[in-house]
């Protein structure tokens, strides 16, 4: 009875902690609307403060919790909205930096840490791997709010998805070798790397295909389909990580992260096309909510985990780690993109994007989880584990707080923010016309219904008319001075019109005026149109990023 009561009390305490974290996250989400700080950065800062009250939050934070429970849904949701044609178009630079860059970076950081911090080689290598995993959550959220070119978002997000997997594989190899008291040989390392990586991809692609083509195609039920995608996100991770146990092959682990990425890509690019529009809306809403919750937990937990007073005990090593990580990231981002530019000239990554890729290479949950794994592992001494943990926390904190709060300014200074002053001015006038027309309609209604006497309603609507006329005139002149805005407005208006068509179709279906088959067929066509518009817009955007040739005329000779 006593044990049961103690367990129940512990569960209640953990539940209370979760409730507190949820409330804190909601409060921060409200707050960041008023202050210009990325949501995730604000979460970390509040987490740092919460860490001073250890009794306040009673949660067992382990690497398994982060890697096994929190990371899979985040990765799954990130790839769910990553169109394959767009990813494929930039697969060259993404894989070069995610695989080549992570491998080279791991070794360079490893050498520096061995020589300058005095870590054993395999521990230094493990640190090099874990600190190579970038976490783009804060940066991607910023991209969305600043209206940054989608190609840049795909490059940053794509790199992160694949380098997470590469980092985990190298980390596990180094940790495994240290635990077994062996050295890590190149041959063994490369062999393992391919088995684990390709195996993980195969598991994810297979499970993703089954769910997309069999379940999502055959069933039209938002609850079943949403639950299935949730099961797939976790299932692909678990099956890949436990592949050896499931199929009786001793010590065989495949990459769970790559399995989740592959499964998410299948569902996002095939599965979602097999669902009805209403299911798709439910499914996307569910994943949006889950991502918000998981991100909130992860970044609060990062803050809670980092004890600032502990960090102060090892400032020299942390400073070395931050410096080394920054310098090596700089070398890799510029070096590899330069090399890629020579190989694939038609998809050269613009210099401005390289600046953002360098400074936007924040570190987060994966680095933290792997550092905790290493600190808990008997492979290294407690002192080594603690040093690596503190250096990781230091780097994560620096990148999130220093780089995370300044990357927005960098994007704006580089002119990559989609919303230029002229575009903002255009949107302001459009918004005023839209709002004032709504106000006018309301006054007209009140006048018509006799709530306002006619003369008053007429006088007020005429005042609105004058204002609307002024805004419309200004907008017309605006396009004459800024012709470059014309296409983006045309595309934005077309997208809005397509979404309105989609909404009207759903409404028709709900009211029973069109069969679900007809609604589905037309909605799929609209989905394709929206995707097509994005492709056209992306091509147009990528062309308009650069200065261009003008003013030449050539006649036949």
């Amino acid at each position: 009875m006593t044990t049961l009561a103690a367990e129940s009390s512990s569960i209640l305490e953990q539940e209370l902690s979760v409730v507190i974290l949820l409330a804190v996250a909601a409060g921060i989400a409200l707050l960041v609307r008023r202050i210009k700080v990325p949501f995730t950065v604000a979460l970390v800062v509040v987490g740092l403060v919460l860490a001073f009250f250890p009794d306040f939050i009673d949660l067992d934070i382990s690497s398994e919790l982060i890697l096994g429970i929190l990371v899979p849904p985040l990765l799954f949701e990130a790839v769910l909205h990553l169109p394959w044609p767009r990813l494929k178009a930039d697969l060259g630079p993404i894989l070069m930096i995610a695989i080549g860059g992570t491998l080279i970076g791991t070794f360079l950081v490893g050498y520096a840490m061995r020589d300058w911090v005095g870590l054993p080689w395999l521990a230094a290598l493990a640190f090099g791997a874990l600190i190579s995993a970038t976490d783009p959550v804060a940066v991607i959220a910023l991209f969305k709010s600043l209206g940054v070119n989608k190609r840049l978002a795909v490059l940053v997000e794509g790199e992160s998805l694949f380098n997470d997997a590469v980092a985990v594989v190298i980390f596990n190899l180094a940790l495994g070798a240290a635990a077994a008291g062996e050295t890590l040989t190149w041959g063994h390392g490369i062999e393992e790397f391919f088995i684990v990586g390709l195996g993980g991809l195969a598991v994810g692609l297979t499970l993703g295909y089954i769910v997309s083509e069999l379940i999502l195609e055959a069933v039209d039920d938002p609850l079943i389909e949403t639950s299935t995608t949730l099961a797939l996100a976790y299932g692909s991770y678990v099956v890949a990580e436990s592949f050896g146990t499931i199929f009786g092959i001793e010590d065989l682990h495949l990459s769970g992260i790559l399995a989740v990425v592959a499964a998410g890509l299948m569902v996002g690019n095939i599965g979602l096309n097999n669902t009805s529009p209403s299911t798709r809306v439910s499914l996307e809403s569910f994943w949006e909510l889950l991502t918000f919750l998981v991100n909130s937990f992860i970044f609060l937990l990062i803050g809670i985990q980092i004890d600032v007073t502990d960090l102060s005990t090892d400032i020299p090593d942390i400073a070395i780690a931050i410096g080394v990580v920054l310098v090596i990231r700089l070398m890799l981002v510029y070096g590899i993109n330069w090399l890629h530019g020579l190989i694939q000239k038609d998809r050269k990554v613009p210099v401005e994007y390289r600046h953002v890729a360098f400074w936007g290479g924040l570190r987060g949950a994966i680095s933290l989880a792997l550092a905790l794994t290493l600190a808990e592992s008997p492979a290294f001494t407690e002192e080594v584990g603690e040093t690596i943990k503190l250096m990781t926390f230091g780097v994560v904190l620096f990148t999130l707080i220093v780089q995370g709060t300044t990357i927005g300014t960098l994007i704006s200074r580089l002119g990559l923010s989609g919303k230029s002053a002229s575009e903002e001015d255009q949107q302001r006038h459009q918004a005023l016309i839209y709002a004032r027309r709504a106000g006018r309609r309301e006054l007209e209604r009140l006048g018509h219904e006799g709530v306002l006497f006619r003369e008053m309603a007429d006088a007020m609507t005429q005042t609105y008319d004058e204002q609307i006329e002024e805004n419309t005139e200004h907008l017309g002149q605006h396009f004459v001075s800024h012709p470059e805005l014309e296409i983006s407005m045309l595309v934005a208006a077309r997208r809005d019109a397509l979404l309105a068509e989609q909404s009207a179709l759903l409404d028709l279906g709900r009211r029973g005026l069109a069969s679900s088959e007809v609604v589905h067929e037309l909605s799929v066509d609209l989905d394709h149109r929206v995707a097509a518009l994005e492709l056209l817009e992306e091509r147009w955007e990528s062309d308009s990023v650069f200065p261009d040739v003008h003013s030449r005329e050539e006649g036949p000779h």
Partner: protein, 145 residues
């Protein structure tokens, strides 16, 4: 000059200013205008059939809207023929210009930065190649032209 003026944009929609300039140019020459929009293989080469069809259809929709807008804004009203094709940029331009017997090719600026979509190392090289193969005059029209 006989036939029609061929205005070319590739890699998505053309810039409004370039389209207006092309319409004016065709109006001045008293010729028909063919709006040749090329979906280059680099970006649109390997789409699923449904998505490829949607891309063509959306591009057609946008170009019609854009041309209607240009016609409403300019004094010269021309009714261009919209011609959307997919494949190698240079080959398509040459084929269309030869079929139409055009003597004037207008390339819509800003040109895609990547002239390699047309297998050339620079826009100048592309312009020279088009001139040589078609015998037509080649102009770049659009912002700052």
């Amino acid at each position: 000059m006989g036939g029609e003026v061929v205005y070319v944009s590739w890699g998505g929609t053309g810039q409004g200013e370039a389209v207006r300039a092309a319409v004016d140019r065709a109006g001045e020459a008293g010729q028909k205008l063919r709006y040749l929009a090329i979906l280059d293989d680099d970006q649109f080469g390997e789409l699923s059939p449904a998505l490829a069809e949607a891309v063509r259809s959306e591009l057609d929709w946008l170009l019609h809207a854009q041309l209607r807008m240009v016609n409403l804004q300019t004094e010269v009203a021309v009714q261009p023929i919209i011609d959307i094709r997919q494949g190698d940029v240079e080959e398509i331009i040459v084929a269309v210009v030869q079929d139409a017997g055009s003597q004037l090719i207008l390339l819509g600026a800003p040109l895609p930065t990547d002239p390699r979509a047309a297998r050339r190392q620079s826009i100048d090289e592309l312009v020279d190649a088009l001139r040589e193969q078609t015998g037509a005059a080649v102009e770049i029209v659009g912002p700052e032209s």
